[in-house]
């Protein structure tokens, strides 16, 4: 546990260091950069034309199906890792191989199904 916590202290230190890097760069930049914000400089870029509507207009993303699938496949890949670690060394090697095969089968079977249903289209 001690070594574990020490190793994560490093991760924490690096996070802090990263934030400091950004903060420091901005602080230095603030000292040397000009600050003359006005008018058109502050308008949103739309090819030199006054923006039409707000930039937050809502677009139709038909690809949210991909997001669904990603979440589910992400959960799936997540379970592969602990399995991958123990596969080589476990006493029940073949059993856990079979377990994962069943699991993968369940999840993967949806892929051709969706393909057939035609929801995997981007636009």
């Amino acid at each position: 546990m001690e070594a574990y916590l020490t190793s994560y202290a490093t991760v924490l230190a690096l996070t802090v260091a990263g934030i400091l890097l950004v903060a420091l760069a901005f602080a230095v930049s603030r000292l040397v950069r000009p600050d003359r914000e006005y008018g058109f400089k502050l308008s949103s870029y739309e090819c030199g034309i006054d923006p039409v509507g707000t930039g937050w207009s809502h677009t139709h993303i038909r690809y949210y199906m991909f997001a669904f699938m990603f979440v589910i496949f992400d959960v799936e890949t997540l379970f592969i890792f602990p399995w991958a670690v123990v596969l080589g060394t476990s006493e029940h090697q073949r059993f856990i191989f079979g377990v994962m095969l069943v699991f993968l089968f369940f999840v993967t079977i949806t892929l051709p199904y969706e393909w057939k249903k035609g929801v995997l289209k981007w636009v």
């Binding site: 994560y8 690809y63 991958a84 892929l111």
Partner: protein, 342 residues
């Protein structure tokens, strides 16, 4: 588990050194790869690239950095100020954090996590949040679309990336990056010492393609497609904030190349079975070898950029879901079968 050279007492000194080393690696890695991109790209296009800064433009990127520092920081009125301002930081910090687990030579890593590769993949995935934040907060249509494309790309290519890595984990039996390098060092195929990249050629391909997409590098640079979306999520950014996005891109190249080096190319060993001298010499040699491998992989990324047109978002998704992900799953099953029965 091998120990890191940074395992020092007292702890605060170790942490300080680690933080400094990480920042140095982050910045130097990004600058070197940036310079590589400038020059390799230029020569592939029959031109010279930067030539004026110091010698052969070697000082170009630091000079650019200085220039960025002096640039005005403009936040558009329509933008969501705080999210806009924080987005570059969100893009950069994960890059620094991931360096924690990257091994650059025997003992040359900051820490050796049990969940090493998994940690690296999870943390680097946070970068996309920066893209999305930038894209949304800019209140610009091009940015919004760029951000959405970036997010879409991430969700489709995180999977092949992770699946390819998982196959290596099966092979090596550990998640620790130094552990993978050591396991690879002892790996033989039909008695011949071999890097994982050769039997795992599918995995290497998957990992590399997915890494390109994850980094929004050509031919998968739709999120910042300059001819369509101006600069995607970076359209409204100026000065230092823009520089951080660029920095995170180059650092991302270093990080993913380093991961590929560890997973597929034998890490700091010149070739599995070929050892390194003990002590400092081995460390230096190991560092040079690792960095050379990283640069070669980065140069290949640049090479692809120089040659290929951009794909279309729907083509990219189709490629991912109908080719790469099934291939990744198949690869896992194949490797697992080989592991269990051979």
């Amino acid at each position: 588990m091998a120990t890191s050279v940074f395992a020092l007492e007292p702890l605060w000194l170790a942490l300080l050194l680690q933080a400094l080393a990480a920042l140095l690696l982050f910045l130097i890695g990004a600058v070197v790869v940036g310079y590589l991109e400038h020059k390799v790209l230029a020569h592939m296009q029959d031109r010279l690239g930067p030539m004026e800064a110091i010698w052969h433009g070697i000082g170009q990127l630091p000079a650019d950095g200085l220039k960025f520092l002096q640039k005005e920081d403009i936040i558009p009125t329509a933008a969501d100020r705080w999210v806009f301002a924080l987005a570059p930081a969100v893009a950069v910090v994960p890059g620094v954090v991931v360096i924690a687990v990257l091994p650059f030579g025997p003992g040359l890593w900051l820490t050796d996590l049990d969940a090493g590769i998994f940690f690296a993949l999870a943390a680097s995935g946070v970068t996309v949040l920066g893209t999305l934040m930038a894209g949304w907060s800019s209140a610009n249509k091009f940015s919004l679309m760029g951000g959405l494309r970036g997010a879409a790309q991430l969700i489709s290519y995180e999977l092949p990336l992770v699946l390819a890595a998982a196959a290596i984990v099966i092979q090596a039996g550990t998640l620790s990056l130094p552990g993978i390098v050591e396991a690879q060092h002892g790996f033989t195929l039909f008695g011949v010492p071999m890097i994982y990249g050769i039997p795992h050629i599918i995995g290497l391909g998957l990992f590399f393609v997915a890494a390109l997409a994850e980094l929004s590098r050509p031919p998968f640079d739709m999120p910042i497609a300059d001819s369509e979306l101006i600069a995607g999520h970076m359209t409204e950014y100026t000065g230092m904030r823009y520089a951080f996005f660029m920095l995170s891109e180059y650092a991302g190249m270093v990080i993913l190349s380093a991961l590929a080096t560890v997973l597929f190319l034998g890490g700091w060993y010149p070739w599995p079975g070929v050892g390194l001298p003990e002590g400092a010499a081995g460390m230096v040699l190991g560092f040079v070898i690792t960095f050379a491998k990283i640069l070669v992989l980065s140069a290949i990324m640049v090479w692809l950029r120089a040659t290929f047109p951009r794909m279309r978002e729907d083509q990219l998704q189709r490629l991912s879901w109908s080719v790469l992900i099934p291939l990744g799953l198949l690869n896992i099953v194949l490797v697992a079968t080989a592991k269990v029965w051979f």
